[in-house]
C-alpha cells in the first residue's frame, strides 16, 4: 500500500508540474481583460483578435512553409548521410565527414546562428549571393542543423537492421540503386518519417538561428511571438498557446489511437 501511495504521489506531483503552467495559460486565454492576470470574465475576444492579426497569421504561414521545406530537404540529405556512413566504405576524409554530420548536434544554436549570418553577409559581399537575408537564408540554416538530427536517426536504424537482406538482393542480381529503393528504403521508412517530423518541429520551434538569419519579410512565428512577450505579457499569445496545445494534444491522441489499432491487428 505504501509503495502504491508513493507511486501515485510521485506521478501526481510530476504531471501537475508539467501541466499546471500550460493549463493556466489556456484558462487565462479566455479572460476578457487586457491585463492578462486580472480575471474579468469569460470571452473569446483574444481568439477573434488573433485571427485578425495579419502579422501573426503571416508569420504562421511563413513558419509552416519553411518548416516543411526544411524537413523535406533535411530528410533527403539525412538519408544520404546515414546510407553513406553505414554502407559505403570508401569516402574521402571519412572522419571529417563524420565530424561534419554529427557536430551540429552539440553546437549551441547561438554560435550556429552567428556563424551562418556572418557567412551570408560575406558571401553576399563576394559573390552577391544570397542577395538579401530572408526566407531562403532561414531555410538554408534550418536544413543545415536538421540534417544532423535526421542522419542520427537513419544511421541507428540502418546499423541495427540485418544487412544480409541487402546482400541477398545483390546476389540475386539487383542493381545497387534498385537495392536502395526496393529493399533499404521500405525498411527505414518509419525512421524516415520520424526524422521528417523531428526536422519539422525543430524548424517550427527555432527562434535563435532564425533571429540571426532572417530579414525583412521573413519573420517566423517564434520571432513574432518573442517580440510580443520579450518585455511583457500578451493575451493574444495566450490564445495562440491554447490553439497550439489543442493541435498537439489531438495529434498525440491520434498517433496513440493509430498505434493501438496497429498493435491489435
Amino acid at each position: 500500500m505504501n509503495k502504491l501511495f508513493l507511486k501515485i504521489f510521485t506521478l501526481t506531483i510530476g504531471f501537475s508540474f508539467l501541466y499546471f503552467p500550460i493549463l493556466t495559460l489556456i484558462a487565462y486565454s479566455f479572460n476578457d481583460n487586457k491585463r492578462v492576470m486580472v480575471w474579468k470574465g469569460f470571452s473569446f475576444r483574444w481568439y477573434k483578435e488573433l485571427f485578425h492579426n495579419e502579422q501573426i497569421l503571416e508569420a504562421f504561414y511563413t513558419s509552416l512553409k519553411i518548416a516543411s521545406l526544411s524537413a523535406t530537404f533535411a530528410t533527403v540529405m539525412g538519408v544520404m548521410i546515414g546510407f553513406s556512413l553505414t554502407r559505403i566504405s570508401k569516402i574521402p576524409a571519412r572522419p571529417f565527414f563524420i565530424f561534419l554530420s554529427s557536430s551540429p548536434l552539440v553546437m549551441p544554436e547561438i554560435i550556429l546562428g552567428l556563424s551562418l549570418l556572418l557567412f551570408f553577409i560575406s558571401s553576399n559581399h563576394i559573390i552577391g549571393f544570397p542577395s538579401s537575408k530572408g526566407q531562403l537564408t532561414v531555410l538554408i540554416s534550418h536544413i543545415t542543423f536538421s540534417v544532423a538530427f535526421v542522419a542520427v536517426i537513419i544511421q541507428s536504424r540502418l546499423s541495427s537492421y540485418d544487412k544480409n537482406i541487402e546482400e541477398a538482393a545483390q546476389d540475386l542480381g539487383t542493381i545497387p540503386n534498385m537495392i536502395f529503393w526496393k529493399v533499404t528504403a521500405p525498411v527505414i521508412l518509419p525512421a524516415i518519417l520520424s526524422g521528417w517530423l523531428l526536422a519539422f518541429t525543430l524548424s517550427l520551434d527555432d527562434l535563435i538561428v532564425a533571429s540571426f538569419t532572417s530579414g525583412p519579410g521573413a519573420n517566423t512565428l517564434p520571432i513574432v511571438v518573442f517580440s510580443k512577450v520579450r518585455l511583457g505579457l500578451s493575451p493574444e499569445v495566450n490564445a495562440l498557446s491554447a490553439i497550439i496545445m489543442l493541435i498537439v494534444i489531438l495529434a498525440a491522441i491520434s498517433i496513440y489511437l493509430i498505434n493501438r489499432s496497429n498493435i491489435k491487428k
Partner: protein, 297 residues
C-alpha cells in the same frame, strides 16, 4: 558494404558532404577568421586579414580579442554561469525525472501508454510558449503570488521573476521531458523480475537500487543528461525572458555583443572560446563514454 565509390553513389555522398562543408564548416572557419581580426568602424566592422598597401602585403591579425575576453572577469563569469546553470539544471532534471520515468515504466501497459502520451505532449508543444507560461505564472499579479497571499504566507506580492532562480526553474521545466523520455526508454526495457530476484536474495531496497537498477539505466541517464546539458549551455531565450541582471549567461553575452554593440570580432572570439570551453568537454566526454562502453561489452 559497397567497396568502390561507383558513379551512382557519388552524388549520394557528395550532396550532403558539400552542403555541410559550405554551410557548417566554412561559417565556423569564418568566425575563426573574424575572431582574429582587428575591429574598426565601417561595414563589415573589421579590417581584412590581408591587405595590399604601399608597403607591400600587410597582415592585420590579432589575438587581442581573446586577450580582451580572458582579462575581463565579466566574460569569464558568464562562461562559468552557463556551465553551472547547465550542471544544476541537469542534476535537478535527473532527480525529478528519474522517479517519474521509473513509475511510468513500471505501470500497467494500458496506463503506461496514456502516461507516455502525457509526457510527449509537453515535449512537442512550443518551447517558447512553455517559457512564456512561467513568465505569466511568476508575475507580481500572477497566480502563484495570489495563492500565497490567499493562504496568508505573504502579505504583499513578492518579485519572483528576473533572477537566476526563475531561470533554473524555467530550464528545469522546459527540459524535463528531454530527461524523462530517454530514461523511460531504458527503464521500460528493464526486467522487473531482477528487482524481485535482488530482494529475494536479501538485498535492501537501497542496495537493489544502487547495484541493480541504477547501473542498468546508466545509458538512459547519460543520454538524458546530454540532451539537457548541451542545449542549456548556450541557452538564450530562458535567461532573456525569466532572468534578470544578477547573473549573465554566455548566450546572452554573444547576442548583445553582436546585436547591441555590433562588435563582430569580440562576438566571434566569444563564440570560438565558447566552442573550446563548453563544447569540447562534451565531445571528449562522449568519446570517453563510448570507449568505456566498448570495453565493458
Amino acid at each position: 558494404m559497397i567497396k568502390n565509390l561507383k558513379k551512382q553513389n557519388v552524388w549520394f555522398v557528395f550532396t550532403p558532404y558539400l552542403w555541410l562543408v559550405l554551410f557548417f564548416f566554412v561559417p565556423l572557419a569564418l568566425i575563426f577568421k573574424i575572431s582574429i581580426s582587428v575591429s574598426e568602424w565601417g561595414m563589415p566592422p573589421y579590417r581584412d586579414l590581408f591587405s595590399l598597401s604601399e608597403n607591400g602585403l600587410e597582415i592585420n591579425s590579432t589575438l587581442g580579442n581573446y586577450l580582451f575576453i580572458f582579462s575581463d572577469p565579466f566574460y569569464i563569469r558568464s562562461y562559468l554561469n552557463s556551465l553551472s546553470l547547465a550542471f544544476t539544471s541537469t542534476v535537478l532534471c535527473l532527480l525529478i525525472g528519474y522517479p517519474i520515468a521509473f513509475y511510468v515504466a513500471k505501470s500497467k501497459t494500458s496506463t503506461r501508454n496514456i502516461l507516455l502520451i502525457m509526457l510527449i505532449i509537453p515535449f512537442w508543444s512550443s518551447f517558447l510558449l512553455r517559457v512564456y507560461a512561467w513568465k505569466v505564472l511568476l508575475q507580481g499579479s500572477g497566480i502563484i503570488n495570489s495563492i500565497l497571499i490567499h493562504i496568508g504566507l505573504i502579505s504583499e506580492p513578492i518579485s519572483m521573476l528576473h533572477n537566476h532562480y526563475a531561470v533554473i526553474l524555467g530550464v528545469v521545466y522546459t527540459y524535463l521531458p528531454f530527461m524523462i523520455l530517454p530514461l523511460y526508454g531504458y527503464l521500460v526495457k528493464f526486467d522487473l523480475n531482477l528487482i524481485d530476484a535482488s530482494n529475494d536474495l536479501g538485498a535492501k531496497p537501497l542496495n537493489t537500487f544502487v547495484k541493480v537498477i541504477l547501473p542498468l539505466s546508466l545509458p538512459g541517464i547519460v543520454a538524458g543528461s546530454m540532451l539537457v546539458f548541451i542545449p542549456v549551455v548556450g541557452e538564450y531565450i530562458i535567461p532573456e525572458m525569466l532572468g534578470g541582471s544578477d547573473k549573465l549567461y554566455f548566450g546572452k553575452i554573444i547576442w548583445d555583443e553582436f546585436f547591441v554593440n555590433r562588435d563582430w570580432p569580440i562576438a566571434s572570439a566569444l563564440a570560438m572560446s565558447g566552442i573550446v570551453i563548453l563544447v569540447f568537454p562534451i565531445i571528449i566526454f562522449q568519446l570517453m563514454y563510448a570507449k568505456y562502453n566498448f570495453k565493458n561489452e
